[in-house]
Symmetry: C2
Subunit: 184 residues, 2 copies
Amino acid sequence: VSEHHPTRAVLLEAGAQLAASEGLHNLSINNVVKTAGLAKGTFYVHFPDRTAFLVALHRCFHDRVWDRVEQATAGVSPGPVRLQRAAIAYLDACRDDASTRSILFDAQSEPAIRREVQERNATATATIAADLRSMSVPNPNHAARLVIAMVVDVALAERDARRTLPALRKAFLEFLPPSGGNII
Amino acid sequence: VSEHHPTRAVLLEAGAQLAASEGLHNLSINNVVKTAGLAKGTFYVHFPDRTAFLVALHRCFHDRVWDRVEQATAGVSPGPVRLQRAAIAYLDACRDDASTRSILFDAQSEPAIRREVQERNATATATIAADLRSMSVPNPNHAARLVIAMVVDVALAERDARRTLPALRKAFLEFLPPSGGNII
DNA sequence: TGTACATCAGTGAACGCGCGTTCACTGATGTAC
DNA sequence: TGTACATCAGTGAACGCGCGTTCACTGATGTAC
């Protein structure tokens, strides 16, 4: 099975579309192939089982979002500016993606996805910790974890509101140490 | 159906026990009645459907935790001390309750539970906002929301670790404005 | 050019399974007279 | 005290349903000679 087979992409797109319409129970294989306009057997040509599909779906989502974060922070050295730019790029990306809640939050009730999220978060934690360390925050790794918790919460709130929530973003940025609040 | 019927309590206890053993899929009615040692029909004597059961289960959990928070903050006026005491009581209660992850986090993929959590969080937000307001935090309501996000994240981390994580708690308390870190 | 064969994405009927829910029934308890 | 009836928590077999997964098959494409 090629990693970039077109039919595989059709299945993943159908999955993202169903994830957008509230809830993990919509993400049954029956629904996915129906939405994709393919036979049920085709699903198993491209994915060994449902879990593998969910993991692939999550990777797509994360890659999409992470690309935007990297684009926004390319060439910026660790510090408060990079941290703020990363957060804002992340929030904008999540706000624009209708599958955010299902894939980022709900899907964590599947153990396989939770492991995946933890791995991805480890990368993000390291980056944010570098920013915080350069800002002389005492506990950079633990603090980074908490920053992620806040950003994810803002992302989910904005997704539910279907728009940017500037006051909430501002409150978040004010939680960051000293120099915060200067580039928004 | 009496609100405090003993058989009802047996069903809820069985539910809490199953929630403790990783995952919402364990919380099928089949499993609940098997664990409770009752016939399947008995379930429907006490609960109209599965959703109502999950909501009741969540209320039990929340009441248990909230009692401890109120006990820890009784008579303390709004401010940094009350905020810290509430957070610590909350964290201790969640750490000691094996069903924390399933009921606080995973169950939110059920719309009915999410509504329930949002209601309960509204109460908590109001209390925390009062504390923050007395500490002259600019955006008390939004800030309170973010404080909850951090506390919940710490609670889940401690639950997974099955122990208190003092460094993480410290990092959290240091995110709180000025006077923070003085009573731990 | 034509023929024989291999490959492999795609198909869809069929499978067993566990789920949530229903319902006619049981049997203990309480009440009326 | 004994009898008739009402109540209602508890029972468990049965229901239909949608799920994830399997598998023998199709048919288009590529390769060998």
